[in-house]
Amino acid sequence: MDTVRRIIALMLKEFVMVLKDPKSRFVIIGPPLIQFFVFGYAATYDLKNVRYAVFDESRTVESRQLLARFEGSENFELTKTLLSEKEIDFVINREKARLVVHIGPKFSRDLHNGRSTTLQVIVDGRNSNVALIALGYIGRIVEQYNQDLVKNGVISMDGPGVLLTDRAWFNANLQSRWFIVSALGGLISMVVVMILTSLSVAREREFGTFDQLLVAPFNPAEILVGKSVPGMVFGLMDALLFAAGAVYWFGVPFRGTIGALVLALGCFILTIVGVGLLVSSLSMTMQQALLGSFVFMMPSVILSGFATPIENMPNWLQIGTLLNPLRYVITALRNIFLEGAGIGMVWPQLWPLLLMACFTLPLAGWMFRHRSQ
């Protein structure tokens, strides 16, 4: 009973520490929410309004029909019509356009003679991902144009050909926003919780109040629980808010169960609280704690599969990502949101998280006492 009373007292103190200062009250809720919305819009691999220039040497009905399809696409935006080949250099180098569509002088003559003709596309490769995606869009437009030429009898199919049809499961329109936004909440709540908990012990160490806490009648386990609860509460609150935002604002489908969502987020936040307290217990100053949490957060964001797939990494690094808590929650969130996973289906992602928490939390508690100047 005494233990419970002491833990409650400590928890109250921790909450007061965070909530008494209006600025620190604000930074726990305000900026994370703003970020969630801004990044939800910003983080997408789908291209819109790619600025392109046209160099049409053919100037015929056919070339204009093809170009009209570019103008009709919301992926592209015409910025300039070029009059000479030299201008291509100029617009690409100076980023006046990100790609140039070049139609040669023999374009429609070739088509009418039943010969195949080429459409030249020059792309700025400074962002190679944008370049490749844009080329993919152009491939679609030209493929459609080719099929329509056959259908309208402009040219005839003169030999055996292959027709490629494709379908994408779970996300038919291949919107990358769903993929990103469903996982974004995990990422942002990790940042909030990590900063909150990693600074909590370090701050007391810097101010010298931690020694007082150690001589007070608390045992390390009680300190551990008292220090963990605020991080858990604020983290879970933020993460659930983000989940609601993903569904109600961004229209990400929610196909799984609420129970699985809460459980997955709870396990994840617990693990992060453990890592944060461990970093904090190792740090003597707030600067060290902050840098320590960055040393943890940067690689874990990069190696989480959030922005770049884990499958693309070399094998040894894929094995390394098994130690990354963010990896599990991102997979779990995507499973829950997009694939309709329940608790049973996400369990493989949860036990590693719990295992990590079982390791980091006691270690942090032990460090409270055993690390001193």
Binding site: K48, R51, T117, L119, G159, P160, G161, L317
Partner: protein, 377 residues
Amino acid sequence: MTPRYLFFMRLRGILRKEVLQILRDPSSIALAIVLPLVLLFIFGYGVTLDAENVPIAVVFNDNSPSAREVSARFDLSPYFKTIHLTSIDEATLWLNQRRIDGIVHLQGDFSSDLYGRNQAQVQVIVNGIDANRARLIQGYANGVLQKWTELRQARGEPVAVPAVKISQRIWFNESGVSRNFLVPGLITLIMTLIGILLTALVVAREWERGTMEAILVTPIRRIDFLLGKVLPYFILGMLGMCLSVWIGVTLFHVPFRGSFVALLILSALFMMASLGFGLLISAAIRVQFVAAQISIVAGFLPALFLSGLIFDLESTPRVIQIVSHVVPARYFVAISHTLFMAGDIWPVLLPNALALFGMAVLFIGLAFRKITKRLEG
């Protein structure tokens, strides 16, 4: 004693204090040297948007030479690691279990369709959850089929050639290697970390620990104080930058086509803008915990999301594009992409450099005003 002599004496004093403070707590040096190394290593080896060895299933029931040839083309492609299955149901199950990322299905009687009706269907089914990857897989599959058509054409077989073919050129990065644009972006991120994160704490720390009062009673003036806080971190940041560029070019063979002088000047501008931003946070907030949160929320995360480092800025809604203009990293990402891959193209570099210069002046000016020599803020 001339005023200039006095100025240097004061500056030397405060610089000595700052340098000692950095040296005593090696964590900031670690941030400048160790973190870039670790991140570059991870980024360089691990992070790529280019898929290789994607596990896919090739499903066909027709044992004709042409079907087997198509399947062999998929086997040979470096992009795919193929598994041969005979039933589409089995492949569907595998796709659901995430054992494969896609299915290539040669439908019906592939070869009789191909030669009898002049059109055979190939269906490509991908898991669309990671849309970017899904799109790449579709593109690769399309490329494999095109290669096959070209092969048949080269052998003199009759083939349906598409009326319009695309001949594509990707300038500056002919083979589309994503590492070439991710590594320059990473350098921006590392400099942001050093510039904003470290400096965000330095003034707030003095207030919180009460040492600001000690400084207030010394003859140190605001300008000395500011320079003393900025210079050591500036040097740390530039060291981190040089180290990252060196590793990027030598170890990861990222091209560097611009001039080193341009890189030095422009990164110095970016460093000043970041430092100014960090100092402004620090001077305005005075509480380390809040300063740290704000530096991450307003400094680090926008540098990751709103800079064009990974996600394309021009495809975002207009409002976001406007907001992104206040993120210094945005300008430096544009600069580093151009410097590394395209060279010294001043019409691109100059507007970005001007923006950075403006931000540096603005932030440092505001920080200067905020650092009052009074106790009540």
